[in-house]
């Protein structure tokens, strides 16, 4: 049952991810990216990280991607025109892909080669309480640093926008 669900959602995630690149229209690409987010959220849910799954949908699928689509609609971007690939891309594309896939496989084999099988319901620390407790005990410094980083980004965006306005 676990394996069946995993295969279904992993396939959806991979197909949507490939579709992001293959689609020619920006809106279609953005919607495929929403599909990736949704499929990943369902994989999180299956692993027992229920809070993370919902946060993934609320933040990425529900807010970030809506903003993307909003901007694409606002600019009214049309379908991109396919140009021929550069000779480097044509020559090195498939070998580079093979090398990267091999590297990732090698890394996982080295790092997690003897890890046990993942069981549905085996992990129970994914509730809102669990995540909140972890954030405010073990990961307090990274959490605060991230919030400062986001604040800096907001201030930077405002400074850039004001320069445009003046």
């Amino acid at each position: 049952m676990d394996l069946a669900f995993f295969i279904v959602f992993a396939t959806i995630a991979v197909i949507s991810a490939v579709n992001v690149v293959l689609q020619r229209h920006p809106i279609a690409s953005a919607l495929s990216l929403v599909g990736v987010m949704g499929a990943i959220a369902l994989l999180y849910l299956q692993l027992g990280a229920e809070f993370l799954a919902m946060a993934q949908i609320i933040v990425y699928a529900g807010a970030v991607m809506v903003l993307f689509i909003f901007v694409i609609m606002l600019l009214n971007a049309g379908a991109e025109v396919r140009r021929g690939r550069s000779w480097t891309a044509q020559l090195l594309g498939i070998p580079a892909l093979a090398v990267f896939t091999g590297l990732i496989c090698w890394y996982f084999q080295r790092g997690f080669g003897n890890a046990g099988e993942v069981k549905f319901g085996g992990f129970t620390g994914g509730s809102a309480q669990g995540v909140g407790y972890a954030l405010f005990t073990d990961y307090l410094l990274p959490f605060e640093v991230t919030s400062v980083l986001i604040l800096v980004a907001i201030v930077g965006a405002i400074v850039l926008a004001r320069k445009e306005m003046d």
Binding site: I27, L31, V34, E50, F51, M54, A55, I57, I58, A61, G62, A63, V66, L67, I69, F70, M73, L74, N76, S127, A128
Partner: protein, 396 residues
């Protein structure tokens, strides 16, 4: 196996009742607005226009679904589906009452009790904007595009104060499961004041409740925030190019969202199915009393009819209400029906407020809408959250 059968039965029942309620909400809305404006409202199809939703449904199904030649076909067809799916999913985690026991089987009046129920509703409602934005964009029409743009901007802006308003009662009850949220508000202060988060707790969440309701108006695109479909400037906004069932899907989604939002407000702020005053002071007798009085009024007007047909229709309604009153006072049904009655009464009252405001207020200007969300509602929700968090930390 019993679990699967019960779940399928519950799912079918909930979907059937929900769709019917959505259809009749349109009738209620037309009737209420008509009476506010001293008109009759729908009155031709069936007694008091009660078969109007059925007539509308037949009309919408038999109309030709026009596919304009200039639209982006895939997204044009996908958008109403998305809108209606996302609005129907959230009802699955809403609890309507306590447990039912039929023979050896006990089941709760809810499709599924997730321990992240409220987050699921937030997630699904944040996905609902895709239906509207895509519908507006794929129609390839400037009015539809403007409606779609306005709707996505408005929904992103109002999601913020809405989420912050939801967080403050969650701090008090300390759980994300909707059933536990409602159960945490059982009991009474001083023996008679209900422990609903809106009027009790370390800090009464009445401000959060008001902020939530205002944001809910914007999230469901209702007057005074229905800028995405402002008919005097955008014809019909994002669904201007839709006809037949696709149009019906958008309007179903809007009314379904309205019901869901009212259910969430009831569960979070108004104590779910817990009565307004204790059963010791006779809260169980309110429902039979209301239905009995309604039935008596119907019978009286049936005997002295204002219109010729009332002689036949109103006594039938009177008998129906008497039957309901009798049902509500059967002792072994009271523990099941009373929570359901109180829940539906609160949701119905909030829905009435939605319709009432539609009949009362004019539409805002677009900059007023955005300024209100960011300059007033968001800081107010933040301040409310701060005070609530502080007081919860002090008292716990």
């Amino acid at each position: 196996m019993a679990f699967f059968i019960i779940t399928i039965i519950k799912a079918l029942l909930i979907v059937f009742v929900f769709i019917t309620v959505v259809a009749y909400l349109v009738w209620v809305e037309r009737k209420v607005i008509a009476h506010v404006q001293v008109r009759m409202g729908p009155s031709r199809v069936g007694p008091h226009g009660l078969l109007q939703p059925l007539a509308d449904l037949v009309k919408l199904i038999t109309k030709e679904g026009v596919l304009p030649p200039h639209v982006n076909t895939v997204f044009y067809l996908l958008a109403p589906l998305l809108a209606v799916f996302m609005s129907l999913i959230s009802i699955s985690v809403i609890p309507f009452g306590t447990q039912i026991t039929i023979g050896p089987y006990t089941t709760s009046m809810q499709l599924t009790d997730l321990n992240i129920g409220i987050l699921l509703i937030l997630a699904v409602s944040s996905l609902g904007v895709y239906g509207i934005a895509l519908g507006g964009w794929s129609s390839n029409n400037k009015y539809a595009l403007l409606g779609g743009l306005r709707s996505s901007a408005q929904m992103i802006s109002y999601e913020l104060p809405m989420s912050l308003a939801i967080v403050s009662p969650l701090l008090i009850v300390g759980t994300l499961s909707l059933r536990q949220i409602a159960n945490a508000q059982a009991g009474y202060n001083f023996g008679f004041l209900p422990k609903w988060t809106a009027i009790s707790g370390p800090f009464p969440q009445i401000f959060a409740f008001i902020i939530f309701m205002i944001a809910a108006f914007a999230e469901t695109n209702r007057i005074p925030f229905d800028l995405p479909e402002a008919e005097n400037e955008l014809v019909a906004g994002f669904h201007v190019e839709y006809s037949s069932m696709a149009f019906a899907a958008f309007s179903t989604a809007e009314y379904a969202n309205m019901i869901t939002v009212c259910c969430v407000a009831t569960l979070l702020f108004l104590g779910g199915w817990h009565p307004l005053w204790p059963a010791a002071y006779g809260s169980d007798f309110l429902a039979p009393l209301i239905f009995f009085v309604t039935g008596a009024v119907c019978v009286y007007h049936g005997i002295n009819p204002a219109r010729p047909f009332d002689r036949y229709t109103l006594p039938v309604f009177g008998l129906l209400f008497f039957g309901l009153a009798g049902l509500m006072s059967v002792p072994f049904l009271v523990p099941v029906l009373m929570p359901l009655f109180w829940f539906l009464a609160k949701v119905g009252f909030l829905l009435f407020v939605f319709i009432w405001i539609r009949a009362t207020l004019p539409r805002l200007r677009y900059d007023q809408l955005m300024g209100f969300a960011w300059k007033f509602l968001f800081p107010a929700a933040l301040l409310n959250l701060l005070i609530t968090g502080f007081l919860v930390a002090l008292t716990s």
